[in-house]
């Protein structure tokens, strides 16, 4: 497979995944905060086609209760494009149309419920909105900062390089966890969700610039010695021109690869931040908070379906890594 083809497939997979998350309201059957206190830790609802009388139904159905009782509980067929709980498309347009659902009091929990009886599948989709966007923005922030600092250090060398690289080392060596405690203590108790979001992005983004900066510096160091750069300099090109036109384009491959690698990394970092009270608060889900439930022993041992969000993340992360890989190959080919 050519690098181009691989890239296309990876990007298509990512596009689909992001589409699901972006239109979570449509794909999720329930609101993320709706509690079904009768059904805590309900296992995934089984979809049936054949009922107790061995009659085949063209339309899949679920049984009543938590959806798993087959002892004469009512049959609730699954309907598509139904009117469900209200939601907002991309946070603006009110809507009620949902892809699928069953009539009350039937319930459909595709990957089970959590300890409050909230639908894990809906929470997974909604959770992605915060986690993916935060991961994406934070990765872009980290990489842009890293690119600027790394490029300056590599290009100018000398004391600029020394100063910036010592700063990088300082950043890598500092115990950020304690700084985060301090940040949390300094904040007011309830911070609006958008503020938390910005905070999340800036904490992740600002703490992650050091490694990309080192990488970029290395590339810039070698790029600035290349013949076409020296030639451009000979023709009297300014530093800015050389940097923007000839040197930085050499780093794009690395930068894109870094973004693709950092996003999954940041999605996981949010688990820690949630624990420090810096993540989004209940009941708003994030992938970090869904995964952090698995830190509890009884969930690990008793409720296998609580792993489903983690499993669903695997193809996403693979797609990101494949994209990173493909970017790298693609840019190598271009460079050659």
């Amino acid at each position: 497979m050519t690098a181009r083809r691989k890239l296309q497939i990876a990007l298509l997979a990512l596009g689909c995944f992001h589409g699901f998350v972006l239109f979570a309201g449509f794909f999720a059957p329930y609101d993320f905060s709706a509690q079904n206190r009768e059904h805590p830790f309900a296992p995934p609802t089984r979809l049936h086609f054949v009922d107790a009388q061995r009659k085949f139904h063209l339309r899949p159905f679920v049984y009543g209760g938590a959806g798993n009782a087959s002892d004469g509980a009512g049959i609730y067929p699954m309907h598509f494009l139904v009117r469900g709980a209200p939601y907002q498309i991309i946070g603006f347009f009110p809507a009620r149309l949902r892809l699928f659902g069953v009539e009350e009091p039937g319930r459909v929990f595709l990957i089970g419920t959590d300890g409050y009886g909230r639908d894990q599948f809906s929470r997974f989709l909604y959770g992605g909105q915060i986690s993916l966007l935060a991961g994406l923005l934070a990765a872009i922030l980290s990489v842009s900062l890293g690119a600027v600092i790394g490029a300056l250090a590599g290009f100018y060398g000398g004391w600029v390089d020394e100063a910036l690289m010592r700063a990088v080392e300082f950043f890598l060596a500092s115990p950020w966890l304690y700084l985060l405690f301090a940040v949390r203590a300094a904040l007011p108790l309830h911070v609006a969700e958008w503020q938390i979001f910005i905070l999340l992005v800036s904490v992740l983004g600002l703490l992650g610039w050091a490694r990309p900066a080192r990488l970029v510096r290395g590339i810039v160091l070698s790029a600035k010695e290349r013949h076409f750069v020296i030639a451009a300099r000979g023709f009297g090109a300014t530093d800015t021109h050389i940097l923007l036109r000839h040197v930085l384009p050499q780093t794009y491959g690395v930068l894109l690869t870094q973004v693709a690698l950092l996003i999954p990394h940041y999605v996981l970092a949010e688990v820690t931040l949630s624990f420090l009270g810096l993540g989004v608060g209940e009941p708003v889900p994030s992938w970090g908070s869904l995964l952090s439930q698995l830190q509890q022993y009884f969930i690990l041992t008793s409720y296998w379906w609580m792993f489903m969000p983690a499993l669903l993340l695997v193809p996403l992360f693979l797609a990101y890594y494949a994209a990173a890989d493909a970017f790298q190959e693609h840019f190598q080919q271009v460079a050659l």
Binding site: R184, L189, H190, L276, E282, P283
Partner: protein, 581 residues
């Protein structure tokens, strides 16, 4: 039943036969006033491993504050009169008997004779006098000091002879001889010089060498390995023996392993590293229960304990300058109808089911059903009712906007945060459920989980919070340990600690009732006073009581005489009687 009793009968005959052989041998050695326990007779030997959540901070009984230190110290020391954690009644300990004057102000205690500390030095009245001198010393500031000050005056201790001590109280004390429980008697010969040199607060740290430590408890210090464990060995001079004259404790050694999280403790118990496990969540109870038979241990649900979890609002005097938001919202919090409305909307049954898997009791007052003597049976137990909540809010001037959100009389939306500790999954879960319940009243609630130290700092020092979910555990069934929760001047008067004047008439009333119950000796009269306190609290809801979790414990099948109790130290209170089969 008859079958059971017959089995017991057979066992005791067998035991008696053994006793015949053992008794004469022991009799020569035992010159002291040993206490004879009535537990089923066991045999000596073996090592017991127990996990502790953290390292003990100190081994000094005068200074110990934290639960883990006290758990270890409990095995190393003894008190004069002890509360039997099983029966919740007092029993003789180092004092073999005592008498009280009619006015309840003078206690005369007869000490056991011929007792020795774990280093072999004799024990007498001088050790008692010295111990109380230390506990009452203002400079040392022992956490127990407050309990030894009755009616504003420290109790006066007087030595009548080597084995008789008299305690003089300024006022009669309702909890009576319970006063002496957990006041560990110190060895004067080891500690007096440190006390005189004023470096007492540095003595008996966790790193103390074994020979420098001595107590009257069933065990003595053997070894401390930082970060790993603290090992105790049998005290050969211990003053209790079983019916057969076998000197207790039965086990040779106790190993306290430091295992920092509950989940890790459960895993190590399951894998057989530890023998006893106490106080774990209902979720882990379900996990353990599944493998009970296969792994050779037993789990027990002792029913409701003494802990109560509750939600409360910030009622401190905060200045509008420093904390404008909190001060503004206090207009709601201070209205009793607002608090009652919140209480009415809380789904306590849901909390019991979801947070505790049914292993807890819903609460409407702070005295838990585990406390058999002091609960007020008259307290109403209203079911969740949003209608009642709405009616209360309406009468307090709140109204609802078109989108269903609640607004106060000035039209500002009702929005506040509930603080919980991030290390306590149960309380965070309760907060999330209450958030959902209150949304149905139109309130917007945020759950903020912070690290425990930060929560306490906000509650006690900065007062920068709006509402909080906390839990308190009564150390004893008696109302006395609750004094500093309910007195308006108390440290643990959480919604408004250390008031200089009672902030409200009902707090003043509680102050009066609590002070009176403290000096009322008649149980029935005292109970009426405490009932009134409970009714005032239920009426004015400074705390919205939620749930009292059951006490859950587990032990390996080979641990015999295991009689867990709902008072701390839940599983090890009869540690000297435990033996390994």
């Amino acid at each position: 039943m008859t079958h059971l009793r017959r089995c017991f009968g057979a066992a005791s005959t067998a035991v008696l036969l053994c006793g015949f052989v053992v008794l004469p041998l022991r009799a020569a050695e035992s010159a002291g006033d040993w206490m004879v326990t009535d537990n089923p007779v066991g045999h000596t030997g073996g090592r017991l491993a127990v996990a502790l959540r953290s390292e003990p901070k100190t081994l000094n009984p005068v200074l110990a504050l934290d639960e883990t230190s006290r758990e270890v110290i409990h095995c190393l020391t003894a008190d004069l009169i002890h509360i039997n954690r099983g029966s919740q009644k007092t029993e003789p300990a180092l004092a073999k008997s005592w008498s009280v004057t009619r006015d309840g102000r003078q206690y005369t205690l007869q000490l056991r004779r011929g007792l020795r500390f774990s280093d072999g030095q004799p024990f007498d009245a001088d050790d008692v006098i010295f111990s109380f001198q230390v506990y009452l010393d203002e400079k040392i500031d022992s956490p127990q000091r407050d309990l030894l000050i009755v009616g504003g005056e420290p109790i006066v201790v007087q030595r009548l002879d080597s084995y008789t001590v008299r305690f003089q109280l300024a006022q009669p004390y309702a909890a009576a001889e319970r006063l002496f429980d957990s006041v560990a008697i110190l060895p004067r010969h080891l500690l007096e010089s440190a006390y005189r040199k004023s470096n007492f607060s540095d003595t008996w740290s966790i790193a103390t060498a074994a020979p420098q430590f001595a107590g009257l408890g069933p065990f003595r210090l053997k070894e401390y390995v930082p970060g790993q464990r603290i090992a105790l060995e049998r005290n050969p001079y211990y003053w209790k023996q079983d019916r057969n004259g076998v000197r207790l404790p039965y086990v040779d050694e106790i190993d306290f392993l430091f295992v920092p999280s509950e989940d890790a403790q459960v895993i190590r118990f399951q894998s057989g590293d530890t023998d006893i496990l106490s106080r774990f969540s209902a979720d882990n109870f379900a996990v353990l229960e599944k493998q009970e038979a296969a792994k050779g241990y037993r789990v027990r649900d002792l029913g409701p304990g003494m802990d109560y979890n509750f939600l409360f609002f910030n009622l401190n005097d905060v200045s509008a300058k420093d904390l404008p938001e909190v001060a503004r919202k206090q207009a709601w919090f201070q209205d009793v109808r607002f608090r009652q409305a919140v209480s009415a909307a809380v789904d306590r049954d849901g909390i019991i089911r979801l947070v505790y898997s049914g292993r807890a009791t819903p609460l409407w007052g702070h005295v838990t059903p585990g406390n058999k003597l002091w609960g007020d049976a008259q307290l109403p137990h209203p079911a969740k009712s949003l209608e009642r909540g709405r009616a209360l809010l309406k009468s307090a001037g709140f109204s609802w906007k078109a989108d269903g959100s609640l607004a106060d009389s000035r039209g500002s939306p009702v929005e506040f945060s509930i603080l919980t500790s991030s290390s306590n999954a149960q309380r965070t879960k309760m907060a999330t459920m209450i958030q959902h319940d209150l949304a149905q009243l139109g309130m917007k609630v945020h759950v903020v989980a912070l690290e425990f130290g930060a929560v306490v700092n906000r509650l006690m020092k900065t007062h920068d919070y709006e509402a909080c979910i906390m839990g308190l555990a009564s150390g004893d069934a008696d109302p006395t340990p609750e004094m500093n929760v309910w007195l308006s001047s108390g440290d643990t008067h959480l919604w408004h600690p250390k008031e200089s004047q009672p902030a409200t008439p009902w707090e003043a009333e509680i102050d009066g009732l609590m002070q009176r119950q403290l000096i009322t000796l008649d149980y029935a009269k005292r109970k009426r006073l405490y009932d009134q306190v409970q009714e005032i609290i239920a009426q004015n809801v400074p705390i919205i009581c939620l749930a009292s979790p059951n006490v859950l414990v587990a032990a390996k099948n080979r641990v015999a005489n295991f009689q867990p109790a709902i008072l701390d130290s839940y599983t090890l209170w009869n540690v000297e009687q435990l033996y390994l089969q």
